[in-house]
Symmetry: C2
Amino acid sequence: MYESLHVEHSSTVERVTEELRRALFEGELAPGTPLREVALAEQIGVARSTIREALSLLVAEGLATRVPNRGVAVSALLAEDVRDVLRARAALESAGARQWATATVEQQDAVREALDAFARTARSGASPAALTAAHLDIHRALVGLIGSERLLSTADALNAEIRLALARVDRVRRNAREQVSAHRELVSLLESGRTAEAVRALEHHLAGAEKSLVDAIHRRPHGPAAPRHRPDAD
Amino acid sequence: MYESLHVEHSSTVERVTEELRRALFEGELAPGTPLREVALAEQIGVARSTIREALSLLVAEGLATRVPNRGVAVSALLAEDVRDVLRARAALESAGARQWATATVEQQDAVREALDAFARTARSGASPAALTAAHLDIHRALVGLIGSERLLSTADALNAEIRLALARVDRVRRNAREQVSAHRELVSLLESGRTAEAVRALEHHLAGAEKSLVDAIHRRPHGPAAPRHRPDAD
DNA sequence: CCGTGGCTGATTGTCAGACAATCTGACACA
DNA sequence: TGTGTCAGATTGTCTGACAATCAGCCACGG
């Protein structure tokens, strides 16, 4: 017992990491932006070693990229990366969908709840970031049907990369209502046992997401060529 | 061009991490063994901060576990963990198998080559560790059929955990020849387009692996209860 | 006898400061 | 145009330090 009594993680590294993550998702730091150790250290008010650990965490999560002897920078997803991530998600989520029948009731309920939460969020006209989070929660719950904590972790990492990409292109504000009904349709296919159709619908949905993401990247090619270091504005 | 010309990573952290990994896979460090920072630092001859980074890497890979304020120790897989990992592998690998038809020729060849390499290794009666590595390479190549680098990384992490568990129970020396033919059968099912049968065979194989691993763990329950700190031998 | 509380040593988490190695960009030079 | 050199910036690693936290032990009191 008493398991529910645990204070928030008071680790300094954890707090710094969380702050950086927030800044990334919020779009305050554009992809390609270098994350200098000394600058961040004195700016946040912690030691360089602490910043170093936090940056390593971000790199491990795929949100930042480290080049030896040149430091870490905010990850800039290329079209190739988006394809990679979406392919991974398709594999994970359709594997989950295929296991709907053998999943536990809790796992199924998690999907339904995520769907409802998404619908509520869409109806209440929340912020784009919140909407994206709620949307991705449904897909996370699909992976949860597999029943592996480790796969849930990788699903989280994949979703984090997507959120990073979406932070720069929140113009994907297409009809949220439409998205809700599409996902509702997907879940009802699962519930009625039409697995093959559900998998097809899921793959169709992900293909669409991939296309819009790749288009967005091509429209604003913040590719591997880091923004030139210009002292003035452009 | 010139891409193939890159020296070995000369990073100290990388070397230390590699050394620790080797010790783990070799079974020199039993699960539960604490990895003390100062001790390792002066033993290997590097600074504590360097050891710290290396340990963080191991923790990120799942090979070690960190408890706040109590340090990191070699991961001890419980039966629950083995189930989790095997479930994840089943999802990834059968997803790969299902995509055999749409995979590129290179990806298919990777599977065939891994199979041949395994057969050669088995015939040459190599070390158990080498045999396990060759075996896992086949399964890795199956995940490769999906075409996502990120999923390959998670497959590597999962396989590393399995290798860690196998290091303590290399009594799984059952007939290697039998294993080879089982995998050959699996690949030929894929090549002949009998996907559903291949997936079934794969899941059967993984279920067997899970069972033997769980049995081994129960036989030698190096569970979460870390070995008491006794100054003398037992 | 058993639970409580406090003490001690060991270990981690974080900090400060230092220095060599490496990379970038600019500049001089052929 | 292409090459060599140099200064500045930044990382990778080291040393040393200290407070916070934890495990084990022991005394105390019910």
